[in-house]
Every structure is written in structure tokens, then in C-alpha cells.
């Protein structure tokens, strides 16, 4: 952010810099190459405070605005079934139990999702205007809180079926720190004629 005095200097400099804009040489069709493109410190298209640390802005999580308002940011840290089912050490029985828990929860929130669908239909083209209405906003807030509480409750129920190690496994996966199964290719029956290839490059692990 520039202060008034520095801005004044900058403006006068810019006026000087840009004086005599169209040089006669341009009309001669000289090469556009100005040689080495030097390094530009800082970041022309991002805010100065972000220039040292690359990162992402918050993304939309898909779906329409209403759904997002209701379900909130999926990065609220509450694992869903799609994530829980990836835990490698889940037993068949655990998987079945957990799936039932999540299926049952899905059934319980269905009325609210139906209500949301009805609201969306009712809003029609005037969705943005409707979302500005205080009563609608209050209702959406309540629905959102209810859904978040429901998701949290489902996770607590699911968590009770998991061992501490399995919860840790899930956390490590979420951070990308659990060795993915793709990198474990030894198989469980190597004796059954599964030789390694003869030629192998030693590559550094990523």
C-alpha cells in the first residue's frame, strides 16, 4: 500500500516514463525481441502480502450457492464416508457397520435436503435476492448448524467403531503421509513366480 506522498512521486514518475509513447522506430517493424527478460521481484498479479508464500485462495466446493451455504465448507474437518472407507486396515465387519451408519444418517438428513430443494425451486431466478432476505438467511443458518451438528454426530458414532490406530491412519492419509498402497507392490504371495524386473533405475523417493 502506498502513502500519499509516495503515490505523488510515483504518478509524476509514471508521467515522465510514459512521455512520448509512440517511438518512430516502431513503425519500421523492428524485432519485438528486447533480449533477456530480467527478473522481476515481487508479484505483479497478486497482493504484496502473498508474494513470498504461494498458496491457493479458498475454492468453491461445487454445487450451487444455496447448497454451499447449507453444507458449508467441506474442509470443516469432519470426515465423510468417502474418506472413512479408505482406511486400509478396516475389517470387513467394520466397513459394513460404518457404511450402515453413514447410510442411516443420509436417510435422516434427507427431509432437510428435500426442503432445500423445494426452497431452490421456490427461489427460482431470484435466488440472489432471496438470499439477502434476513428471514431466509436465518433459516439457512439454522439448517446449516443442524447439518453440521448431524455430520459431527455421525462422525462421533463412526469414530467409536474405529481403533485409535485407524483414526491415526485416516489423519495420516489426509496429510498424505501414509505410504499409499501403490508403493507397496510386493504382493502377498511372492513365492508364486513374481520376479522383479532385471533392470532397475534407483530413483529418489518423492
Amino acid at each position: 500500500m502506498q502513502g500519499p506522498s509516495s503515490l505523488a512521486i510515483a504518478l509524476s514518475l509514471s508521467a515522465l516514463t510514459i512521455l512520448g509513447l509512440v517511438s518512430p522506430a516502431f513503425g519500421e517493424g523492428k524485432s519485438g525481441n528486447i533480449g533477456n527478460v530480467g527478473s522481476v521481484d515481487g508479484d505483479f498479479f497478486s497482493t504484496p502480502d502473498s508474494s513470498q508464500q504461494p498458496g491457493f485462495t479458498k475454492a468453491k466446493e461445487g454445487g450451487d450457492g444455496l447448497r454451499n451455504k447449507l453444507l458449508g465448507n467441506k474442509k470443516d474437518g469432519i470426515p465423510d464416508w468417502q474418506q472413512v472407507k479408505m482406511i486400509p486396515s478396516l475389517s470387513r465387519e467394520q466397513r459394513k457397520e460404518l457404511q450402515e451408519i453413514y447410510q442411516s444418517a443420509k436417510g435422516q438428513i434427507k427431509p432437510m435436503l428435500d426442503e432445500m430443494k423445494a426452497m431452490r425451486t421456490q427461489f427460482g431466478e431470484n435466488k440472489q435476492a432471496a438470499l439477502k432476505d434476513p428471514a431466509t438467511r436465518q433459516k439457512l443458518r439454522q439448517m446449516r448448524e443442524h447439518l453440521l451438528a448431524k455430520r459431527q454426530a455421525v462422525w462421533e458414532t463412526a469414530k467409536a467403531k474405529l481403533s485409535p490406530q485407524q483414526i491415526e491412519e485416516l489423519e495420516l492419509m489426509r496429510k498424505g503421509q501414509l505410504m499409499p498402497a501403490s508403493l507397496n507392490q510386493s504382493g502377498s504371495d511372492q513365492s508364486a513366480g513374481m520376479p522383479r524386473p532385471e533392470t532397475r533405475d534407483e530413483m529418489q523417493a518423492p
Binding site: Q2, S182, G193, Q204
Partner: protein
């Protein structure tokens, strides 16, 4: 543009557009200083380049690797900020070659694992890579090898390993596919990874491409990687990916010979593409249509964007390249297929987004004047030349350049002006200029 007698830095920039995703000015400076041969050597040996900064930056992003949307952002972030550009470019190549989609796999962590595996082996030995791919859980799910059983062989993997991964159509028979499918029976995946189910493996005699015996999947992999057709198939695909869409037969033969002679060494094969006289010729210069990844990551690099829009992967998907979700088993067609009415519009939208970001909050973006001053740009011609060089290697017709100069030298109403009145206008003009260049035909070319 004539490429005759071009400087070393010219070819280094050409190399970076293909072996990477273009570069930041600092990267261009670095590789230019190395010279073509050493730059290529560094690109080909990513394990020799310290990438710990990227790792620490990624750790700060708090990506959730069990969510596919975050996985897409993670990879895009890697492409944009890695110090090993060819490693990412090769990983993207293999992702398209061994096209596997999360839409069917429905397991983000398996896709993450496959991506790590492809990156780890991207420039290693093709025999080992194909061996790993054949055991990869995501691939096993994707091509239904889980259902490939002794008494009911499923031919999907056997067909694709021949048609799409190694030989190409016309170099095998239906009988070869059936026999190879039997060899892969029992190759399954479980929660802990690859699982050889001995009970479901067909131990009978088989014949694949003339080789007979009690063959298993590894034997088939070994047979396939050694075929001349595989050498040609891979050589052609690598040339098309890195150089141009219509490689000559002689170049394909040269690169294929390196593959065979090196015993399937990918690094040497890729090196053969980048050192081939045809790659360093007019035929290759600006001859490839940028993939969405090249377009987006290239813009991030050349414009030094650090704050990435979280929806960039979605924009890329609308441009036709949805990471971790290739359209089918063949992967992305690439080349002219990247350009269609809708995808072009999305490219323009991207240009609008990246150049117009928060323009109404100009006071936060006070570096346009600084940029002009640092580069010593004293008039509109120099400003236009600077950005043309940065974004399209200066490769535009004179008439285009003249129009761009007229744009910079005019007010909002299009009337010529002698001075740009203030920094705000300068910033608007620079952003407008960059936007115009990003919508030029040349900008769509790598």
C-alpha cells in the same frame, strides 16, 4: 519466425516450454546461464535438484489428500512451484498414457498413490514402470483386473496394455490378448496394496507374441517392453508430446533405437527427443498447442502469480483437462483437440481472470510502475515488446505489435494519448495488454 541461427537462450526457452511449463524470469535466467546442454541435463536429473522448498510450501497448504479436489490443487501447485519441471511434465505424460480416472476408481488416496508412483519412476526404466503400473491398485480397479479370474478371464487390462501402453493397434492378435489376460489372472488389489491371489491365477501354458510357457503378468510385461513396436509406439508418443504432432519416420526410428539400445531407459529416450535436430528446428518452434496444464501453469510462472485461484483445476477441466479424470482409457488426445469453441472461450476466461484479479482494488497492487521502472521501459513500444517477449517469445507479426502499441498508447475511449496520466491507468493498460496477448493465437502455442 525464422529459427535460423537463433541464440542459445532462444533454444533454452523453447526447451523450457516443452520440458517444463515455460518459466519464471528467474528460471529462464538460470537455465539460460547453464546453456542448452547443461539445462537439459539438469531437467533430466530431477533427483539432483533440491526441491525441499516445494515440500515445505505444500505442507503449509493443508491439502486433504483424501479429497480429489484438493488432490487436483496439490498437483497444480507442484507443477507451478517445483524446481523439477520435467519431473512434473513426465508425470503428466504418464498420467495421460496410463490414463486412470478417479470417476471410476472412487478412491482419492489410490489416485494419489498412483501419482507418486508415476513421479518416482517417470524417468527411470520403462520395464519397471510398466511392472509397477500393472500392480497399481488404481489401475487394477480402473481396468477391472480385480475381476480377472482363472475361470472367467477379464481382458480389459490385457487389451489396454497392448493397445495403449505398449504395442499400439495392429501389432498383436486377439489370441495374444486372451492369453495375456490369463497371465494376469489373480492380480488383484486389497487394502494393503497389490495382492497376488494364487487361487485365481491360471497356471496353464500360454503363448503371447510367440513366446510360450507358464507365463504370468511379469512375463507378459517383459515380452511387451522388448518389442520393436513398443519402441516405436513410445518414441512416437513422446515426440508428439514434446516436439510436434507429425513426427517424421526417421525421427521416430532414431528415438526408438535409443529406447531399445538403452534397454528401455526413459531418461535416455526423452533426451534423444530433446537433442534431435528436428526438435531444434523451425518445425518444432511454437508447433504445439498448449495443453490446459501448460497454459495455466505457464501463465502462473511467466506472470509470477503466487496466489492461485482455488477453482483453477475446475477451469482447467472446462478447458478439457481434468487432472486425475482423463476422459477415457486413451487419455487426452492433445494437439488440435485442445481447441474448440467452448475450450477457447474458457482460455479467454482464464486470461480475464488472471489479468483482472482484484483490479478494482488497485491500491493493493502497486507494482506496475515498479515493473516498468525496473525493466527500464520508457515508452509503449518497449512495454509491448517486454510483454510479448515474456509471453510469446516475441513471436508475433508486425501488424499485431503495432496494434498492441496503439492500445497502450490510447485512452479508454481509444483516442491516442501522449502520456499515461496515472499509475492506475498504467496498471489497467498493462493488464489489458497482457490479456490481449493471452488471447492471441501465438499464446496458445508452446
Amino acid at each position: 519466425m525464422s529459427t535460423a541461427a537463433k541464440s542459445q537462450s532462444f533454444w533454452v526457452r523453447h526447451l523450457l516450454r516443452r520440458a517444463g511449463f515455460n518459466g519464471t524470469p528467474k528460471e529462464l535466467e538460470h537455465y539460460t546461464r547453464l546453456g542448452y546442454d547443461r539445462a537439459l541435463d539438469e531437467l533430466l536429473h530431477p533427483q539432483m535438484v533440491d526441491n525441499s522448498l516445494l515440500d515445505s510450501l505444500i505442507a503449509k497448504q493443508e491439502f486433504d489428500f483424501t479429497r480429489i479436489d484438493d488432490l487436483k490443487r496439490w498437483w497444480l501447485f507442484r507443477m507451478a512451484f517445483t524446481r523439477r519441471p520435467l519431473e512434473e511434465k513426465m508425470t503428466l505424460f504418464w498420467h495421460g498414457h496410463f490414463a486412470t480416472s478417479e470417476r471410476k476408481v472412487k478412491h482419492a488416496y489410490a489416485m494419489y498413490g498412483q501419482n507418486l508412483m508415476l513421479r518416482r519412476k517417470c524417468l527411470g526404466n520403462f520395464h519397471e514402470l510398466l511392472y509397477a503400473v500393472s500392480r497399481d491398485p488404481a489401475m487394477i480397479i480402473w481396468l477391472d483386473n480385480q475381476q480377472n479370474r482363472k475361470n472367467k478371464p477379464n481382458e480389459n487390462y490385457a487389451r489396454e496394455i497392448m493397445e495403449l501402453f505398449t504395442l499400439g493397434i495392429g501389432n498383436y492378435t486377439e489370441k495374444d490378448i486372451k492369453e495375456a489376460a490369463r497371465a494376469f489372472t489373480g492380480w488383484q488389489t486389497g487394502p494393503q496394496g497389490f495382492r497376488f491371489n494364487a487361487n485365481q491365477h491360471d497356471r496353464g501354458a500360454k503363448t503371447v507374441l510367440g513366446v510360450s510357457g507358464n507365463l504370468n503378468g511379469d512375463d507378459v510385461v517383459k515380452i511387451l517392453v522388448a518389442q520393436k513396436a513398443t519402441a516405436r509406439f513410445l518414441a512416437k508418443k513422446l515426440i508428439k508430446y514434446f516436439a510436434f504432432d507429425d513426427p517424421s519416420e526417421t525421427m521416430v526410428e532414431r528415438v526408438a533405437a535409443v529406447y531399445s539400445k538403452s534397454k528401455y531407459n526413459i531418461r535416455q529416450t526423452v533426451s534423444a527427443v530433446f537433442t534431435d535436430p528436428e526438435f531444434l528446428s523451425e518445425k518444432a518452434y511454437h508447433a504445439k498447442i498448449k495443453s490446459p496444464a501448460e497454459l495455466v501453469v505457464g501463465a502462473i510462472k511467466t506472470l509470477q502469480v503466487k496466489t492461485l485461484d482455488g477453482d483453477l483445476p475446475t477451469m482447467m477441466a472446462r478447458m478439457g483437462q481434468d487432472l486425475f479424470m482423463p476422459p477415457n482409457v486413451k487419455g487426452w488426445d492433445g494437439g488440435p483437440a485442445w481447441i474448440a469453441t467452448d475450450t477457447m472461450m474458457e482460455r479467454f476466461n482464464f486470461a480475464t481472470k488472471i489479468t483482472g484479479a482484484k483490479f478494482d482494488e488497485m491500491e493493493k497492487y502497486g507494482s506496475s510502475l515498479e515493473l516498468v521502472q525496473k525493466q527500464g521501459l520508457k515508452n509503449s513500444g518497449q512495454i509491448v515488446d517486454y510483454f510479448l517477449q515474456l509471453l510469446v517469445d516475441g513471436d508475433v507479426p508486425t501488424s499485431t505489435r503495432t496494434k498492441l502499441i496503439a492500445y497502450v498508447s490510447s485512452d479508454i475511449g481509444g483516442r491516442p494519448v501522449q502520456t499515461i496520466p496515472d499509475e492506475r491507468t498504467l496498471d489497467a493498460k498493462l493488464r489489458g495488454l497482457v490479456h490481449l496477448i493471452m488471447t492471441l493465437p501465438t499464446y496458445q502455442l508452446a
